[in-house]
Amino acid sequence: MKKERKPKVAAMLDSVSLQSRLDEILEVHRDREGALLPILHDVQEAFGHVPQEALPIIAKAMNITRAEAHGVMSFYHDFREKPAGRTVLKLCRAEACQAMGADALADHAKRKLGLDWHETTADGAVTLEPIFCLGLCACGPAALVGDRLVARLDTATLDTLIGEAR
């Protein structure tokens, strides 16, 4: 079977605006030692994910192969290939939060949203993700809702947060 060679362009991004925004980002990080992670963070910040068609451009600027760029991007949990839901609900799964009932809370969230980890609701409102430690270990269970930290989370608060997000 012939492999599709042409990169698929995401609907929201036309290649001109992608290129110009990428150029800006790459310019900011030019001459920085080990700039690839800061670049990928900025690209994800700008586009909500790291568009696949951005990788060859980044790779060229960094003088690495496209495979290497993909290898780095795919190594790290943070970088997304696809945009996430409007609100990303990250529930801590680590031990300190487990000791305060994080597992049951995660089960509740999955049931309530009808999602497993890393999935997004059909309406695009919420993406559910695990996170391993927010450093809120003396006031667990903890979560990161969008960019808001929440501690001592219980099912009632979780339901409210989900309600606000939907």
């Binding site: 992670l37 949990h77 680590a94 930290l149």
Partner: protein, 508 residues
């Protein structure tokens, strides 16, 4: 009126921003002039948001505060229902020896003037009058060991970098604090970032490095922001830059943010990540001290190690060395977490027993149920049963009981915990976070989950297999992720055999 409302992430997660807003609103309403300081946390997380008011007697504490509690602060503070008394006289504070965390929660984290009023920059000024070799010797004599977990003598690491041929050298701060039940690095970066900056600058002078990086976590957005702001202030005030405090010697630094990979807390993986590569572990040797960041001699130290250097340089090596037990000198920032009544950060000399930490300081569990297990040292640390509560807190003392102190996270579980599930989670976590470079870790962790599932289904013949697998992972893994995952697994199996046998009975 001077009012302190913490900006620490834990305090914010518990609502301190809303309390700060309420203070500002109430002050405006009453026409009272209030200086609102967003300080770090005092470490009493169960009392957060902990508000303090400056009085003639000292700082008075109130907590845990809600916005509704704020108006009464302006009436008669001493009769406020949430009044706790003078902060410095609270039992939690009185029992501590705060050296590294002396300023956290006390000062405005971004005020260099306040920092200097509280002994700040004294260590750096002293270091500037010394040779690199003299600084290295001072740190060596202090007995400071790596607070990230491995406990390697900091001075010896520095000496290797100092003695490496001249040229570009680096100071890399490992602030990738991914262990559950640890938050000391986060609290320090949010509550007293100048201490870390000062410690890194001293390290730079000691070994001849002019550049530093703080590699921290994307899960710590507040620490990233605070640290970045502090570096800008330090640069503006001449603490960092081409001429540190006008000495003519250069040191500058920046913050770098990881991307959710736990393994990047391992120093060689961190260096790869910092270079913009996959965070895979490097084989040692070569040591990072000789071939580290971009192949150059590099000091890689934990936040708390580096942040302990200013007090050592200020008060002298002997002062620091005299705290502690055996070969564990100085203080440790204990982080008491999980299912705990009084959780938070408690800095004390090495040597308290685990039982004192859990019961006397932590007050037992939050749920009020009996303590079943305590995991010390993060996800790669052993689970200790109450039978081992007489173990003194020290590197060798914990190693002698097949455990480790790691980054000094103490995670408490009540009797509802199922230790087979905890062992399974340890393997699952290793499988998720393995960098994939070495086979014992990459495959062993997956097989570990499967083997524990077999035990859970009642297959007791899988128990020797699990033990064997753990030995393989321990001996054959390249780094501590695969190498130490057996600690939580084997300690669960050894100390809580009933949880592995109960499943069998259920199956029969």
């Amino acid at each position: 009126m001077r009012i302190y409302v913490p900006i620490d992430a834990a305090a914010r997660a518990l609502g301190s921003d809303a309390v700060a807003d309420a203070v500002a609103r109430e002050a405006a309403k009453r026409g009272v002039e209030v200086t609102l300081v967003r300080n770090g946390s005092r470490g009493m997380i169960w009392l957060e948001p902990l508000v303090e008011i400056v009085t003639d007697l000292g700082r008075m504490a109130f907590g845990p505060m809600t916005p509704a509690d704020v108006p009464a602060l302006f009436d008669a503070p001493e009769r406020h229902p949430k009044a706790l008394g003078l902060t410095e006289e609270l039992p939690w504070m009185v029992r501590q020896t705060r050296l590294t965390f002396a300023r956290v929660g006390v000062i405005d984290p971004l005020s260099l003037a306040e920092y200097e009023l509280h002994h700040g920059l004294k260590g750096l000024r002293r270091a500037l009058a010394m040779t690199g070799a003299e600084i290295v010797k001072e740190v060596t004599v202090s007995g400071l060991r790596g607070r990230g977990g491995a406990g390697f003598p900091t001075g010896i690491k520095w000496k290797t970098v100092h003695d490496a041929p001249e040229g570009q050298k680096y100071i890399v701060c490992n602030a990738d604090e991914g262990d559950s039940a640890t938050f000391a690095d986060r609290m320090l970066m949010e509550g007293d970032p100048f201490t870390l900056i000062e410690g890194m600058a001293i390290a730079g002078l000691a070994v001849g490095a002019t550049r530093g990086y703080v590699y921290t976590r994307s899960e710590y957005p507040d620490a990233v922001a605070q640290m970045t702001r502090a570096i800008e202030v330090a640069r503006k005030e001449g603490v960092l830059g081409a001429s540190v405090l006008g000495s003519g010697r250069a040191f500058d630094m920046e913050v770098r943010v990881g991307a959710g990979a736990y393994v990047c807390g391992e120093e060689t993986s961190l260096l790869n990540s910092l270079e913009g590569k996959r965070g895979v572990v490097r084989a040692k040797p070569p040591l990072p001290a000789l071939q580290g960041f971009l192949g150059k001699p590099t000091v890689v130290n934990n936040v708390i190690s580096l942040a302990s250097v200013p007090v050592i340089m200020d008060r002298g090596a002997a002062f620091y060395r005299d705290f502690g037990i055996g070969r564990s000198h100085g203080t440790m920032a204990l982080q008491i977490a999980g299912n705990v009544k009084y959780g938070g950060l408690f800095e004390t000399a090495f040597g308290l027993t685990l039982g004192e930490i859990v019961n006397d300081i932590g007050g037992g569990t939050a749920t009020g149920r009996p303590v079943k297990a305590v995991q010390v040292g993060g996800p790669l640390g052993a689970y200790f049963p109450p039978a081992l509560f007489d173990t003194p807190f020290g590197y060798e003392e914990f190693a002698a009981k097949d455990g480790l102190i790691g980054h000094a996270g103490v995670c408490i579980f009540d009797d509802s915990a199922d230790m087979l599930s905890q062992a399974r989670f340890a393997m699952e976590f290793c499988a998720i976070e393995s960098c994939g470079k070495c086979t014992p870790c990459r495959l062993g962790a997956v097989r570990g989950v499967e083997t524990i599932d077999r035990i859970a289904r009642g297959d007791s013949t899988a128990i020797p297999l699990l033990t064997d697998l753990c030995n393989t992972m321990k001996a054959g893994s390249l780094c501590a992720l695969g190498g130490f995952t057996p600690y939580p697994v084997m300690s669960s199996l050894t100390h809580f055999p009933d949880d592995f046998a109960r499943a069998k009975e259920a199956a029969e």
